[in-house]
Symmetry: C2
Subunit: 134 residues, 2 copies
């Protein structure tokens, strides 16, 4: 590992760790699970299945789906299936695009962290002179 | 793409999208930025530098650092540097371990989403018969 590369990883660029594209609507843990489940199911998922996939209660899933629907990320369909009323949740095209953007930012977070970890592995646990002088 | 592989990606495993290890203390957007910045700086970061890296106000950074310190993830040092009082924030060993676990779960989210996207690319925009019948 060259000194130069290491210095580059540690440079202090204002806002480099702000991760502005981690939109709070998508980043919330339960909604992130819902979106990931829907992202892999372009035909949508039944409310009951989604509840189970995400380990959420009826009330919690309803609340999060409402937040996502209000943001235009998902659409909610009601219909009959084998004589029973079902609710189907689907990602909208906009939701898919926004989730892809979000995933890219998430990958950036991981790249930033992993790169730094690789480059500082030799120093873990080593206190700086500044701290040692306290 | 084989049918079998596709079926496997879409199987409904209860809780598979719950992502329990996305601890809310670490997952909050601002704290995620702080942790990523600290993870790549094992010697710690000055409060003033961290504020700039994460695009946070004094008040916001203080609040989030307090949450992280109360959870045992970071430690806060006060000291003199060139005659001025400085605050240094560092990840604790426990914080580093927990953040690594968090990163692994984040990578799982991305793997789940990306795998599903690859396998359903040919079907994007295609409505199921269920929806088409509404």
């Amino acid at each position: 590992m060259s000194r130069r590369k290491k210095g580059a990883a540690r440079r202090s660029v204002a806002g480099s760790h702000a991760y502005e594209r981690l939109d709070r609507v998508l980043h919330e843990k339960a909604r992130l699970g819902i979106l990931t489940a829907l992202f892999t199911r372009p035909d949508g998922a039944r409310f009951t299945d989604l509840k189970e996939l995400c380990s959420l209660t009826d009330g919690n899933l309803s609340r999060h789906v409402q937040v996502l629907a209000e943001a235009g990320l998902v659409e909610v369909w009601k219909g009959q299936e084998s004589g029973r009323t079902q609710t189907l949740i689907r990602l909208t095209a906009a939701g898919r695009a926004q989730f892809l953007e979000y995933l890219e930012e998430l990958e950036q977070v991981i790249r930033d962290a992993r790169r730094g970890a690789e480059e500082t592995d030799g120093e873990l646990g080593g206190a700086s002179g500044w701290i040692a002088a306290q």
